[in-house]
Symmetry: C2
C-alpha cells in the first residue's frame, strides 16, 4: 500500500514520473527562513502548522530555523511526527472518543504535548484518559474568534472551561487557542487586518478574565499565513501557527499585500509535475494529474509553463486544458501546476520530491499522509 | 506511512474510530450481484472499473460474480492489483512516458493486460517498450464519443490508429474504447439514453471501418454506472466498465430512473463514519471528517442520521453542520455521511471497514490507494 517514489535522488527533473509532488528547495528554504526571521525580529514564538506538509523532514527544518515546535490537527499526525522525532506538538483541535483520548494520553508520556478543548464533558474525559495512563495532559481552551467552527464563545464560557481544566489533577491549563480560519483568505490586506482586530476583542476579554483569576497562559495561539502580521502587531498572541507559507498555493496567491498587489513575499515552492497524455484536437490537451493528485475545492490549478492556458475541468485522473493551438504542448510535454490548495493536495501523496538546479536532491516521506484518525 | 485501521474485526460498529470509510457488506454484495445479473441476462461482458474501489478484495468478489476482469486508469493501480492476484486488466487510459511504458510492458509479461491509445507517436513508443521487454502488448484505440477529453475522433482517424497498432510486431490490436464520461451524471433517464445514442453514431462508423479491413475487436469497451443500460441495449459494446455501482454516492443519488424518481436500484453502501467533536452553539455542530477524509468537488456529504441537517461547509479536517437545536447531536455522537463522490473519497483512505449486523466483519486494504503513477 505504500507507493514507490516518482524519482531517485540524482535524477534530472526531466525523468521524474508524473504526476508527482515537487518542491523547489531554494524557495522552500527561503520561505522557512522568512517566517522564522519575521517571528524572531518581533519576539513572538513560531509553532508552524504541520497539517500543511505532514512531513518530519520539513518540521525539522522549521525547528532548526527557530520554531519552538509544531502544530497538528489529528492525534494520528502527532503520532506519526513524534515517531519521526518531533518532540513538542500542540494539537489545535478537539479530540473526541475513548480510543483517541487513550492514544493522546499515551503519546503525552513520550513528548511535550498539548491539546485544545471547547466542551466541559470532553475536558473531563481527557482528564480520565490522562489519569488512566498516569500522566498529565496540557489543555488549551479554544475560543471562537469569528470563524464559527469549533471553539467556545470568548469571555465567561472560556473562563469556566479554564477553571474546569485547572480543577483536574491529571490536566494542566495551558492557555488559549484563538485561530481565525476564515480570515486567512480575505483578499484585501486592510480587510484581513480588520478581521483580526475584531477577533482580538474576544481574546482580550478572555485573557483579562483568566489573568484576574491567576490562570496563566503558556500559549496564546493562532494566526495563519494570511494574517500572521496582524496577530503579531496586536501583541496578545504568543505563538504564530502559520503553515501554508512553506508551500503557498493558488488560493493564497490571490491574497493582496499592503500595496494592493498580489502578495508575493512567500513563493510558490510546491508544484504538481504533470505530463500531457492526450492532445486529440488543436486547442485542447489532457494531463495525467486529476483529483487524486491535487485538490480543487479552492479553485483549479494554475499552469506555470503556459499561463495563457485555461483549465476547463479536473476529473479523477485528468486535467483538461484549453490552449492556443500555435503554442499547444504536445503529448509527452511536462507541465508544472500550482494546486489551488496545498494542504489536501499534499495529503494525496506519499512522497515529496525536492529539487534544486534541475536535479532531484531529496525524497521525503509524507509521514502523516492519510493520518485522519 | 501506512496508518493503522480504525477498528478490529469483531468490534461493534460503535467503537470504530472516526473518520472511517465504512461499507455495508449486505448492500455491497447486493450491488455486485445486481450488476453481474444485469450483464449475464443480456449476454454482455462485465469488466468493472477498479478506479472506484482500488481494492483487490472487492475486485475478486466482482470476478467471482462473473466479471471477466477489471479496468484501471493507472499503471500503478494495475501493478497493485496484479500483485494482489488480479490477472486480467484493461488500462482505460493513455500511458505516456518512458518509465511508465517500461512498467506497462513488464507487467504485460505477468498478467493479461491491455491499454488504450489515442496518438500515433505514443503507439510507436508502446511498441518500442514492448519490444525492449520481449513481449506483445494489446492496444485499444480510444475514441472521443462526446466527453471532449481523451480519444481520437471516431471514423478515419481511429482507423488510421488501429492500422498503426496492427503494423507493429510487438503490439496486438485489441479493439475500441468508447466511454462517455460526461453522460454519466445527466440527471434525466431519457436524456442519458439520448447522449449514449449520439455517442453510438461515431462508434458504429468506426466499427464499420475496422470490420471492412478485417481488424477484429476483442473488446469494445465503455459504459458507466449512469449509462450501462443504454450501451447494452444498443448492441455495439461488448464490455461494460461501470465502477461506482459498488458504492454509489451523493452525485449518483441525484440521477433519475425511468420513472422520473431518484434511481435507487443500486444502494449507497459506502459511508464516512464521523464524530461530532464540537457543539459550541445550539444550532451548529462540527464533525471530525473534512476534505482529507472525503471529496466534495461533486457536492457536500449527506448526513444519513440527520437528513434535516444542512452542511454549511467542509474544511480540511472539519464539516460544519447547521442543525435544529431540539435535535442537535451532542459531542461524541457519531454520524454517517454519504460522500458526494466515491472514487476520490476512497483514494484518501488506507482501509475499508466492512460491517454487517452492527459488527466489523472485514478490514480490507485499499491496495491501489495513492497509485497515481
Amino acid at each position: 500500500m505504500m507507493n514507490a517514489p516518482a524519482a531517485c535522488v540524482g535524477d534530472p527533473v526531466d525523468v521524474i514520473e508524473t504526476p508527482a509532488l515537487v518542491v523547489d528547495l531554494d524557495l522552500l528554504e527561503a520561505n522557512i527562513r522568512r517566517m522564522a526571521d519575521f517571528a524572531a525580529a518581533r519576539g513572538i514564538r513560531l509553532r508552524p502548522h504541520a497539517k500543511t506538509h505532514k512531513c518530519a523532514a520539513i518540521a525539522r527544518m522549521q525547528i532548526a530555523a527557530g520554531a519552538v515546535g509544531i502544530c497538528c490537527q489529528k492525534v494520528g499526525e502527532a503520532e506519526a511526527l513524534a515517531n519521526a522525532g518531533i518532540g513538542d506538538i500542540l494539537v489545535t483541535n478537539q479530540v473526541v472518543g475513548e480510543r483517541k483520548l487513550d492514544r493522546l494520553a499515551a503519546l503525552s508520556k513520550r513528548i511535550r504535548l498539548a491539546v485544545c478543548a471547547d466542551d466541559g464533558g470532553n475536558v473531563d474525559r481527557i482528564a480520565a484518559a490522562a489519569a488512566r495512563f498516569g500522566t498529565v495532559v496540557e489543555v488549551l481552551v479554544e475560543i471562537d474568534v469569528g470563524t464559527g467552527r469549533c471553539g467556545t464563545p470568548p469571555g465567561a464560557p472560556a473562563l469556566a472551561l479554564a477553571r474546569r481544566i485547572a480543577g483536574h489533577d491529571s490536566l494542566r491549563f495551558g492557555g488559549v487557542q484563538a485561530y481565525h480560519g476564515s480570515a486567512q483568505h480575505i483578499r484585501g490586506h486592510d480587510d484581513r487586518r480588520a478581521a483580526i482586530a475584531a477577533a482580538a476583542e474576544g481574546l482580550r476579554q478572555t485573557l483579562d478574565l483568566l489573568a484576574a483569576e491567576g490562570l496563566d497562559c503558556r500559549i496564546v495561539g493562532g494566526a495563519g499565513t494570511g494574517s500572521h502580521e496582524f496577530e503579531t502587531e496586536l501583541g496578545l498572541w504568543t505563538e504564530l501557527q502559520a503553515g501554508s507559507y512553506v508551500f503557498m498555493d493558488g488560493d493564497y496567491s490571490d491574497n493582496l499585500g499592503p500595496d494592493g498587489q498580489p502578495d508575493r513575499r512567500f513563493a510558490n515552492s510546491l508544484t504538481i509535475r504533470s505530463t500531457v497524455i492526450s492532445a486529440p484536437v488543436p486547442d485542447r490537451i489532457v494531463t495525467d494529474a486529476g483529483l487524486k493528485a491535487m485538490s480543487t475545492e479552492s479553485g483549479p490549478p494554475r499552469v506555470v509553463d503556459a499561463p495563457w492556458a485555461r483549465v476547463r475541468g479536473v476529473s479523477d485522473e485528468h486535467t483538461v486544458i484549453l490552449t492556443d493551438p500555435a503554442r499547444r504542448p504536445g503529448v509527452g510535454a511536462v507541465l508544472s501546476l500550482i494546486p489551488g490548495h496545498c494542504d489536501p493536495t499534499v495529503n494525496l501523496h506519499d512522497w515529496i520530491i525536492g529539487t534544486r538546479g534541475g536535479i532531484v536532491e531529496c525524497i521525503w516521506p509524507v509521514d502523516a499522509r492519510g493520518a485522519v484518525l
